[in-house]
C-alpha cells in the first residue's frame, strides 16, 4: 500500500483502454478492511483511499463503456481480462438482464417464427 505505487497504477489505468492487472484480485475488499480497522497504523491512509477510489472509478467507467459498445454493436462475445470479482458484481445483474431482453428482441427478428413466447 505504497502511495507511489498506487499512483503509478492509477495513471496506468487511465492511459490504457483495456484493464490493467491489479496487484491483487481482491484489492477493493482488502483496502476497505485495512483502512477501516487499521487506519492508524497505515501512513497516508486518506491518500491511499483516494487513489484506490480513483482507480476503481476508472475501471468501472471502462466497464460501462465496453458494455455499451457491446450492446450497440450487438456482438455475441466479449472478453475482458483482469477484472476483479467486485467490479463484476456491481454491474453483473443489470448487464445480464439487459442482454436477456435484447436477446428476446433479437429473436423477434427471425421471420416465420410460429412460437412467439406468450409471456414477455
Amino acid at each position: 500500500m505504497d502511495v507511489e505505487k498506487l499512483e503509478e497504477i492509477r495513471d496506468r489505468e487511465r492511459k490504457e483502454d483495456t484493464f490493467t492487472p491489479m496487484p491483487s484480485p481482491y484489492y477493493m475488499e482488502l483496502t476497505k478492511l485495512l483502512l477501516n480497522y487499521a487506519s492508524d497504523n497505515i501512513p497516508k491512509a486518506d491518500e491511499i483511499r483516494t487513489l484506490v477510489k480513483d482507480t476503481w472509478d476508472t475501471r468501472i467507467a471502462k466497464l460501462r463503456l465496453s458494455a455499451d459498445s457491446f450492446v450497440r454493436q450487438q456482438e455475441a462475445h466479449a472478453k475482458l481480462d483482469n477484472l476483479t470479482l467486485m467490479e463484476i458484481n456491481t454491474t453483473g445483474t443489470f448487464l445480464t438482464q439487459a442482454l436477456d431482453h435484447m436477446y428476446k428482441l433479437r429473436t423477434n427478428l427471425q421471420p416465420g417464427e410460429s412460437a412467439h413466447s406468450q409471456d414477455f
Partner: protein
C-alpha cells in the same frame, strides 16, 4: 390486459363473432366495422386462413414514429406512449403484417439506443429521488433501472459496512413488541 387496444375489422360473416350468452338476437358487428379489442382477444381471433379480423397498428409502431425513434430514441416519453412498448410490440409481431421486419428492427434499435442512458442514470443516482429519471421509461426499462439501482445500493451498503451488521428485520419491527430498553424500570 394491455392498455393499448387494437382496431379489428371483423371481415367475415356474422356467425364468426362470439355471441353474448343468453341473447337470442343474431345481430353482431357487421363486416367491415372497426372495433377496439384487447390484445388477448385479438390474438385468439386471429387466423390467417379464415381472416376474421385484420389488425391496424397503433400509431407508435407506424412509419412516422419509427423515423422518430431512429433519429433519436432518447427523447421519446415511452411511458406516455404506452407503458409496455417492447412487450406489446413483440406481441404485435404475431399478426401477419407486411411491416413486421421493420417493426422488429425498430424496437430493437430503440432499446439499444436507450440502453446507455438507463445504465448511466441507474448507476449514478444514489439515494436521490429518481422519479424524474424513470418518468419517461417504459415498464421493461424501469425493471432494468431498478436492477441497476439495487446493484448500486448493495455496493454502497457493503462499502459502509452495513453488510456485516445485524439489523432488525422490517417484519419484526412492525409487530410492535416492547423493546428491551423499554422494559427496564
Amino acid at each position: 390486459m394491455n392498455v393499448l387496444k387494437l382496431q379489428g375489422n371483423p371481415s367475415a360473416c356474422r356467425t364468426a363473432v362470439p355471441r353474448a350468452r343468453g341473447s337470442c338476437r343474431r345481430t353482431g358487428p357487421l363486416s367491415g366495422s372497426k372495433l377496439e379489442i384487447p390484445l388477448w382477444l385479438a390474438k385468439g381471433l386471429h387466423d390467417s386462413k379464415r381472416r376474421i379480423i385484420s389488425v391496424e397498428l397503433p400509431k407508435i409502431y407506424k412509419e412516422a414514429w419509427r423515423t422518430v425513434f431512429s433519429a433519436d430514441a432518447n427523447v421519446v416519453d415511452l411511458h406516455k406512449m404506452g407503458p409496455y412498448y417492447y412487450g406489446f410490440g413483440s406481441q404485435l409481431l404475431n399478426f401477419d403484417n407486411p411491416e413486421n421486419p421493420e417493426i422488429a428492427q425498430s424496437i430493437l434499435q430503440t432499446f439499444i439506443s436507450r440502453f446507455r442512458r438507463i445504465m448511466d442514470s441507474s448507476q449514478n443516482a444514489y439515494n436521490e429521488d429518481t422519479s424524474a429519471l424513470v418518468a419517461r421509461l417504459d415498464e421493461l426499462e424501469r425493471a432494468l433501472f431498478r436492477a441497476g439501482q439495487k446493484g448500486l445500493n448493495d455496493f454502497q451498503c457493503w462499502e459502509k459496512g452495513q453488510a456485516s451488521q445485524i439489523t432488525a428485520s422490517s417484519l419484526v419491527q412492525n409487530y410492535g413488541k416492547r423493546k428491551f430498553t423499554d422494559m427496564d424500570g
